[in-house]
Symmetry: C2
Amino acid sequence: MGAVKTKRMPRAVREQQMLDAAVRTFGQRGYMAASMDEIAELAGVSKPLVYLYLNSKEDLFTACIRREGTALTEAVRAGARPGLPADRQLWSGLTAFFTHTARHPDGWAVLHLQARTHGEVFAAEVAAMRAEIVAFVTQLILAAARDAHRDPDLPEREVSGLAEALVGAAESLADWANATPGVTARQSAATLMNFAWAGLGDLMAGRRWTPPDDSGPITGATGAQTGRTSPVT
Amino acid sequence: MGAVKTKRMPRAVREQQMLDAAVRTFGQRGYMAASMDEIAELAGVSKPLVYLYLNSKEDLFTACIRREGTALTEAVRAGARPGLPADRQLWSGLTAFFTHTARHPDGWAVLHLQARTHGEVFAAEVAAMRAEIVAFVTQLILAAARDAHRDPDLPEREVSGLAEALVGAAESLADWANATPGVTARQSAATLMNFAWAGLGDLMAGRRWTPPDDSGPITGATGAQTGRTSPVT
């Protein structure tokens, strides 16, 4: 109860300080090992005040996931500048993503590792945000296809698959970049563009990699033919 | 104790039946919700026998992770046939991966979702297997670079980044394919080849996507120059 008396600043400010401390502690020590005592100490407040504001360790963790997820989603949206050519949009979106994850490694660890590692409720929180980013990337790929000024023959299902692949690649690279000393956000973004863009770019231009004809035809979504490459000229 | 009397077949066979039941239950219901009662019932044995053989729910889950992880790793290794050109190796490795994850959706859910969602010990188990697959893909990309019969100017660090991107993309696509009715393993592999191979292929041929010169030079690992594309002829 004495804790409430230590309140000298607006609740919103105090709460952000608690969340800052919680993200750092959850991100670095893991959800299980993190204690409310050390989060309160790092935030410079009493433990009862943390409980008064955020209710429980579970609710505090959920608040961290939401804040970090929103910040990341907004950074990516702000980064992908509409109006640029598709490859420039993708480049600026990816640069924004890797810049954000590099600057907020604890937030990224909360979202991509901790939130998926401690139960279905937290995992569902990040799954919803991830779905939003995949939908955004899907639109970006569709816009790129339109920019290509031709029919790139991309069924909706394949575009969804490409967006899933791109998001999965970016997540994996962000983990790796944060664990590898000296890798910059620009380098990660350039690696992913080298990996992905020429592939997507060729696809937009109607040049498809097609599998060898050694195990039966591909039916349905991809529309790929047999043979090694099929540049459509 | 009466449970031991029900043993009519070799322990190894019985144990595999328990693991089959456990993988199915953990994969479909989640680690938390899965009960030892239902696993025993599905395996057609008594609960005490499950505890006698596998010790605890944690140990049973760990045994599932190891069995499924080993099976997946071996399927991918068997799929990527050495001696083929690099794109064919990658195609056959990816096809093997998506075929395995499609045929064993519960095993894949255990490895990629459940094992990372229920504590650091389980997460560390899959992280070690994932590192093995990344190392394997890294070697495959290096072999592809050698096949290209020229110096593709790929620093070791960038190859590691490319391998992380490819593995992350494949994981993400496997989740998506298993959740999307009608997507075949061949389609997933073709989508990823379309996404990734032309990108890697261009890179092997010395054609790099390079970022616009709007935010300073890239230093270090990627070696990318400024400008939009840089085909090295």
